[in-house]
Subunit: 136 residues, 2 copies
């Protein structure tokens, strides 16, 4: 991992309305994101579908809350599932416009598209952040 703690020390505030989720300035060595819908092409029904799965809700919630909203590898989550299943779920999130993924050498890192989602569907991410996973 390349300096997550250092970056997390001074997050910028989200542009526009103040918000509970911190965002971070782009860095010069950041690779281009994988294919994703443009902000205005994000569809509510697809975001809802992406967030209707407990595993994916967990992913988004942990991206929002556990590590100051910065990007993480698939492996970081520690889910006990086959890799191909995780690939599938991360792809659903990205194609719905919920997350952005970038390739850093070997690993693919994900982060929530906080600003885009806040503009298109204000308040939605708060619901995810406050979600309580079903107790067994």
């Amino acid at each position: 991992m390349t300096g997550t703690k250092a970056r997390a020390a001074r997050p910028d505030a989200t542009s526009g309305a103040a918000h509970r989720f911190a965002t971070f300035p782009a860095r010069p060595d950041t690779p281009e994101p994988l294919d994703e819908p443009a902000r205005d092409d994000i569809r509510l029904e697809q975001v809802m579908a992406a967030l209707s799965d407990p595993l994916r809700l967990t992913i988004v919630q942990r991206l929002l809350l556990e590590a100051e909203a910065f990007d993480h590898t698939c492996g970081w989550f520690g889910f006990d599932r086959p890799k191909s299943s995780l690939t599938h779920h991360f792809k659903v999130l990205r194609e719905a416009g919920v997350t952005r993924q970038r390739q850093y050498g070997l690993e693919r890192r994900s982060q929530v598209r906080i600003e885009d989602l806040e503009e298109r569907f204000p308040g939605l991410l708060d619901l995810v952040a406050d979600w309580e996973p079903q107790e067994i």
Copy 2:
């Protein structure tokens, strides 16, 4: 339809925070609701799943906006689908906790559980109200 306009004339404000959707006082002749989850048993993932379908989003949006949030029969929507399909979709909405249904003689009327959803998932209904159906 039994007096929708008259009832809509003076809606009460939602209890708690002021809100864009009007709610209505219960009437003495109101039948018991069909089986539905209790407020605290409404699960975000199931609400998301229920709202991930364009037809169901349309139903909820029109219940919210077109008739001052009061209840309507399945037929009122005028969808060009077999009746059994509509029954299915209304059932998905009710079982997820999004709508409440009551039997009035022949017809079954639906309304959005505005207060319950506002308490559990504040802001979610605004997203539905502002949703723009995909242009063909």
